[in-house]
């Protein structure tokens, strides 16, 4: 995996490659996801973009994320029961969520790559490996 916190490709290039017209709003969301590998929720994205884009609508963030996922420019994670989260890294990798602080991070462990195979006659198009537990920060916090 490359740099943990940033993807070395421009948001513009990613949108074009995925056949998405690069409006200001779409670029903002795409760039946000590529520069902030924190698996943000819709609310996090909206709140972080809003100060510099005061006309931005929450609906646009929803619409844009839906478009990004459908076009393969990002993936949606259901690791968090409460909110859907989004990631600009579309290559298979493993996600972890801390039960205590709720943070979602990437883990350096390869998930099984099953896309394209048939298993029990099911055609596999996508897969996600989700791990849950305690992150280093929360593990240390409880040592006292």
């Amino acid at each position: 995996m490359e740099n943990k916190n940033k993807i070395e490709e421009s948001g513009y290039d990613r949108l074009i490659k995925c056949g998405i017209r690069p409006s200001v709003q779409r670029l903002a969301v795409m760039n946000y996801l590529m520069e902030n590998r924190i698996h943000p929720t819709v609310d996090k994205i909206f709140n972080d973009l809003y100060p510099t884009m005061p006309t931005l609508s929450r609906t646009t963030v929803y619409n844009t994320l839906k478009l990004l996922v459908e076009s393969g420019a990002a993936i949606m994670l259901t690791i968090d029961e409460r909110n859907t989260r989004f990631d600009a890294e579309t290559k298979p990798h493993t996600h972890f969520m801390c039960y205590k602080c709720g943070t979602v991070t990437d883990l350096n462990i390869n998930p099984p790559v099953l896309k394209g195979n048939y298993i029990d006659d099911c055609e596999i198009l996508n897969s996600e490996l989700y791990l849950y537990g305690h992150c280093p920060e929360c593990v240390n916090k409880n040592k006292n």
Copy 2:
């Protein structure tokens, strides 16, 4: 994996083993999950139990499922973005959801067993492998 559609243990025994007092409602939900390995949503469980238990409350189903998961008598799946789903099979196994019909099934492929390990200093307590694609029924439906 044993019989695909039923778990060979009584709901009563499972509740006792997990330290849960076996009320009528809890038994009904536990038995339903053990006899119907369909990874049902809360609504599905409620609607299926309601005819034979007309005093049952949806809130009780929510409360009971929460208790079952916390006590280790069942697991919660977040494979489906829209609804949480539940499974009485608590041993690690792989889940599949069909993009077309939404059905969730078990797959005969072993997930990586990582519980108890530390990965990147994260203490792993649980893991889920979710696969997505087209189930045999929906694959065949489109062959025409």
